[in-house]
Amino acid sequence: MTTDTIVFSKELLEKVKEIIGRYPEGRQKSALLPVLHLAQQEYGWVSPEIMDYIASLLDIQPIEVYEVATFYTMFHLEPVGKNVIEYCRTGPCCTMGGEEVYRHLLDKLEIKTGQTTPDGNFTVKEVECLAACGWGPCFQIREKFYTHLTNEKVDEIINDLSK
């Protein structure tokens, strides 16, 4: 991919314009995080080409995009599976048996943390606290929260998403 191959659709460009309009004149850099999210929703991950393209849209230097995209853990800087499972590994979820359920999830998918299943359907990542501690153990797949996880519930979710 080169920069030229990344072009947002008309709808997406409209959306970017709307986002830039939220901030005072000359502060379009504030649009960076929302636009990175937008790109990731569209492409699944954020490639260097996408970052360069976003830099041109916001009239900032590419490095300004790289340094931000690498700081925030939500942005996937490498290709990921269709379903990215982001599993909470922090205290309260672990207290509720989160570590056992996590082991079960990895066994079921036969992959390790950070890997993608060979069919490209699932990627598993460990994340820190998702602000759902009373409903743990929990994980997120893209924007959806899955809470009160048990081994059985994990099986159901994975089976559903494997269809």
């Binding site: 005072p24 502060r27 850099k29 853990t73 939500m74 205290g91 509720m96 606290c129």
Partner: protein, 448 residues
């Protein structure tokens, strides 16, 4: 039981309350009308000051006082930023409040912005809560359509634009100056203070940053008066507080409590947590989110002087760090006797290591050391000097960094060792036992 007062959660549970019409029918936006039509910004500020409400994001700084510090130079815009980054382990109250009753926060934002004279205000929501962002954006669109947002609100000549900004998955962006950096489209590196945000904040303009829960108290305060608010609660802990309860309890969830409630009642009453799960007993509590010192059961129920411990800023911190803790953000994590304190401490240390922004050496390096040394103890590889090493590293981080993330990383480690030192020693003395699956020190150093 006496009917407990609900200021923030009274409307939660009403069918369809997330819709403007339902919220309005149930008394919503009356406070905005009152503030904008019948009061001046200074009059609202006065009520907030009188209420004594303290910041609910963790530090507990009086909100009215903070608002009073806002610089007002001619011709320079002022900003209000709502901190909805909520990433402190154990805390999920803002998440709950925003998804259950989004219009309450919008209403609070309008009142607070009007009071501070801000014409553009931001709600910075952690990026993982994208679905909550959609809920808030819908609520904002509805409020705008009804004339409560946008140009010339209720014919008053006051304009307000509300923007919801997503974060990107970084705990540090909950620290207010890191949040402002992030909102400017940069890495979340905290700024040196002074200048404080009240003088130079977002885009170098005067800015107030407040937590979701803090801002959400303003509609009630406007409707009922600051004095009525100050009569709720106990002493300088006025009002109610949302407590996020998790761990080995019968009823996890978010509770609105009147400050001053005895901890024992909170844990064991069926009106609240309903006690520890059947067949188990309380071992330890982290009362205010992962950053505050952990306390053993005896010290969370009673202070070292034998007084009943209360859910208030003052009572929880009674005894200082020797025997007390802090209310913090109200993330209440209860652990029963099956919990390994060493493992839990390592888990939190790993969190802070992962979340340190890396700007200050004591935090960047120190959190890494604590993570590694605790990992080694937990995994049967510890040596005798490790406990003192941990205490030493924690001391060297504390107070030596730009922002308090360093302190927040040091306190859980230091307090776990202070109160559960024998558990660490057991791990080091009996590594083969300690590494067994779910091994927990049972209080007997010899027989294992």
């Amino acid at each position: 039981m006496a009917e407990s007062i609900k200021i923030l959660t009274d409307k939660i549970g009403i069918e369809g309350i997330e819709n403007f019409d339902v919220y309005r029918k149930n008394g919503g936006y009356k406070a905005v009308e009152k503030a904008i039509k019948k009061m001046s910004p200074d009059e609202v500020l006065d009520e907030v000051k009188k209420s004594g409400v303290r910041g609910r994001g963790g530090a507990g700084f009086p909100m009215g006082m903070k608002w009073g510090f806002l610089a007002k130079p001619e011709g320079v815009p002022r900003y209000l930023v709502c901190n909805a980054d909520e990433s402190e382990p154990g805390t999920f109250k803002d998440h709950y409040l925003m998804k259950s009753n989004p219009h309450l926060l919008i209403e609070g934002m309008i009142i607070s912005s009007f009071t501070l004279g801000a014409n553009t205000s931001f709600i910075y929501v952690r990026g993982e809560l994208m679905y909550v962002i959609y809920i808030l954006e819908k609520a904002i669109a509805e409020a705008k359509k009804a004339g409560f947002l946008g140009k010339n609100i209720l014919g008053s000549g006051y304009d307000l634009q509300l923007v919801v900004q997503p974060g990107g998955g970084a705990y540090i962006c909950g620290e207010e100056t890191a949040l402002l950096e992030s909102l400017e489209g940069k890495r979340g590196n905290p700024r040196n203070k002074p200048p404080f945000p009240a003088v130079k904040g977002l885009y170098q303009c005067p800015t107030v940053v407040n937590n979701v829960e803090s801002i959400s108290t303003t509609p009630w305060i406007v409707l009922n008066g600051g004095e009525s608010y100050s009569k709720i609660g106990l002493g300088r802990s006025t009002g109610t507080k949302l407590i996020s309860a998790s761990g080995h309890i019968n009823n996890p969830g978010v509770y609105e409590i009147e400050l001053g409630l005895p901890v024992e009642e909170f844990i064991y009453s069926d009106d609240y947590l309903g006690g520890i799960r059947p067949g188990h007993e309380l071992k330890a509590v982290v009362a205010g989110g992962s950053s505050v010192p952990i306390l053993p059961a005896a010290l969370i129920l009673k202070t070292a002087d034998g007084n009943s411990r209360l859910m208030s800023y003052e009572s929880l911190s009674e005894g200082g760090f020797q025997s007390g803790t802090m209310l913090g953000s109200g993330g209440f994590i209860a652990m029963d006797e099956t919990t390994c304190i060493v493992r839990n401490t390592w888990n939190f240390a790993r969190f802070y290591h992962h979340e340190s922004c890396g700007q200050c050496s004591p935090c960047r390096e120190g959190t890494g050391w604590m993570d590694k040394v605790l990992y080694r103890i937990e995994h049967g590889l510890g040596n005798e000097r490790d406990i003192d090493l941990l205490v030493d590293v924690a001391k060297r981080i504390e107070g030596n960094t730009i922002c308090p993330l360093g302190d927040a990383a040091a306190w859980p480690v230091a307090s776990a060792i202070r109160h559960f030192r024998d558990e660490f020693e057991w791990h080091i003395k009996y590594p083969n036992e300690a590494i067994k699956y779910q091994a927990v020190y049972k209080g007997d150093m010899i027989k294992v």
